[in-house]
Subunit: 130 residues, 2 copies
Amino acid sequence: MNEKITSVVDFSKGNGLITAIAQDAETGEILMVANMNEQSLAKTIELGEAVYWSRSRQKLWHKGEESGNTQKVRDLYLDCDGDALLLKVEQIGGAACHTGKRSCFFRKLDRDSVTDVGVQVFDPKEVYKQ
Amino acid sequence: MNEKITSVVDFSKGNGLITAIAQDAETGEILMVANMNEQSLAKTIELGEAVYWSRSRQKLWHKGEESGNTQKVRDLYLDCDGDALLLKVEQIGGAACHTGKRSCFFRKLDRDSVTDVGVQVFDPKEVYKQ
């Protein structure tokens, strides 16, 4: 990874991780939030597709490697203190969430209720065949 | 905080914290990302304004309490695994970043360059008088 990039991204505050937000480049919809380490950011830049770091599996997670729903990265933006990254992406397949919904942020919270407002794009049972 | 809310938000994975993303409700622009603990989420819902948890200062951070640039919360969305929150907000004063820029995500990363593409709204020296 180019030294100009590594010099501005701060992995130290998050124990080697930064927050990565994926936003639909066309609609502005927030699709998901995940983490990246230095290796996954380098891979994201190299491939032009989102590669996160899975905290639960402790390994690189090339988004869509199983479902085919990759995220083509159009633009990358770093925040003021260098520990959060915004990815403007083209979401292949139209859905980012493992539930088959377009966005992971499908639960609307109100004072006394939680409502599912998600747009179902695919059936996860069909896509993630075990 | 209503038990329906507390039952779906998962503070355990992030040592008591969730990730909170503020998005301009009108334009869809991502303004900033910060953290919330249970107390700050309860306060956010109570006030209808964004209240984060400052990790560096280890205290509640009512966004805009000093600058006046509060964030009026229009809607709240929780992600699929309950550890990230999306706030659709009206950004009072037009700028979310302590640098006086509209968004904290003002550094565009390319393979070999970092470019400031931010929109300067106010002069931080004027706003944060010490």
